[in-house]
């Protein structure tokens, strides 16, 4: 028997509401981001390279320079940026425009899972009974979309998005934010970090996501006595990778015990001075933020936003 039935795209008389609702979800993101000038995704090839620290330092530095700055913590399972900026959340207000982000003392607007979950609680989702596994990835994509669309970000000059380690979430983010201004990849010295970063860069390239550049973290150690920076590895790895992928190295930050203590205490913003002695860590942070912004501005001119409204 071969019934001549109409197929999906031929049937349109009643509400085809599922695709409409999916389109509506995408529209909500686009509408919200319409008032955001630049979006910067911070990713790393693997964990433990200080990616969240770099995100927090960049966001704090942008805000310090007077840019209206948002920080979206997309590292849902390991959220730490809010703590780094001394924000522990104290009841997110549900306002007429959406959920109000928390604000750091330096006026970075933050949304993070750490503001929502019980202290020390891991992120876990309600599971339907009799289901051996859950669509965790799907739930996390939905959460990311809600962070983007339902947070009352307001007008922002820049939104920094701290992605979880590894590549896959970049694809999700890029699907939700097709006109992402730029991606930076945080790396650390050493072979395994380098290989992981190469994979991340490859993934970004495969998705045609604009890469603003590489940031080398933990590039050396700062002497707590004299402040001199000693490199721990031969170095040159970030430069070699950057050359291979045709992207710039935006800066390098050393390990510094003072900065580490500030991170523990939620005082990372203290490390974003306007000045800072040449060659000091504060100066390196400032240079890094300047260079990153410069590259984002260049990418923005290179790929102006489409007329699709975001």
């Amino acid at each position: 028997m071969n019934l001549k039935i109409r197929t999906y795209n031929q049937v349109a008389e009643a509400e085809s509401n599922l695709p409409d609702q999916v389109a509506e979800a995408a529209r909500r993101v686009a509408v919200r981001l319409h008032t955001v000038q630049m979006t910067l995704a911070v990713m790393s090839g693997k964990g433990g390279v200080g990616k969240s620290m770099v995100s927090a330092l960049l966001a704090a530095s942008f805000a310090r320079r007077g840019m209206k700055t948002g920080l979206l913590d997309a590292d849902l399972n390991g959220p730490s940026t809010a703590h780094l900026l001394g924000v522990d959340g104290d009841g997110l207000a549900v306002g007429p425009e959406g959920i109000e982000p928390a604000r750091s003392s330096g006026d970075v607007r933050i949304m993070s899972m750490s503001l929502i979950l019980d202290q020390d609680a891991a992120l876990s989702w309600r599971e339907p009974r009799d289901s051996g596994y859950i669509w965790r990835g799907a739930q996390e994509r939905r959460a990311l979309r809600e962070f983007l669309a339902d947070t009352a970000w307001g007008r922002l000059d820049i939104m920094v998005i701290d992605l979880p380690p590894g590549g896959p979430r970049l694809a999700d983010l890029h699907a939700m934010v097709p006109d992402l201004t730029g991606v930076v990849v945080v790396t650390a010295p050493g072979r395994s970090a380098r290989d992981a970063v190469a994979r991340s860069l490859d993934l970004a390239r495969a998705r045609s996501a604009p890469v603003a550049g590489l940031i080398e973290n933990m590039s050396g150690v700062v002497c707590s006595e004299c402040g001199e920076i000693t490199r721990v590895h031969e170095g040159g790895e970030a430069d070699a990778l950057a050359a291979r992928f045709g992207v710039p190295v935006l800066g390098a930050l050393p390990l510094d015990s003072g900065l580490a203590a500030a991170a523990d205490g939620g005082r990372v913003e203290d490390w974003t001075d306007r000045k800072g002695a040449a060659g000091s860590v504060r100066d390196l942070v400032r240079q890094l933020a300047l260079r990153t912004e410069e590259e984002l501005q260049r990418l923005r001119l290179e790929h102006p936003r489409g007329g699709s409204g975001g």
Binding site: I5, R6, V94, L117
Partner: protein, 149 residues
Amino acid sequence: MKFLCVPCDRQMTFEERQTPGDGTLAAVFRCPKCERMTAMLANPMETQLVSSLGVKVGGRTVPQAEFEGIRGGVTAGRDDAFEDREPATPPAGPVRWSPEAVERLGLVPSFVRGMVKKIYNDYARERGIARMTPAVMDQARSDLGLEGM
């Protein structure tokens, strides 16, 4: 997804949803011509997948609440994570809550309570219901697919 009544060549329209509470979903569709009904039965994984897209089978009638997936989905939400405030002047008149309804709302974890209350109020206003009762709450849960809230 769409359902087509083959003998009539008409798209069936959404009639009713049932969420028995075991993670599964039943959605009933009816042919507008011959009135024949068919039920779509989704297992927990299928139900979850659809819900993670932020969509409801049968269409929503009240707008999506902010962070609905997060607030309805996470298991360890902080009690005081959100400050939900009722608008001073609700859009279409206040909905009065019966003591039984208030008591039942009190059983909802505080993490989602404000949001759930707003969804119930929106649902009632949209239908011109002036008084919230457990029966209205049951109906709203089923109509809106608020399983687990």
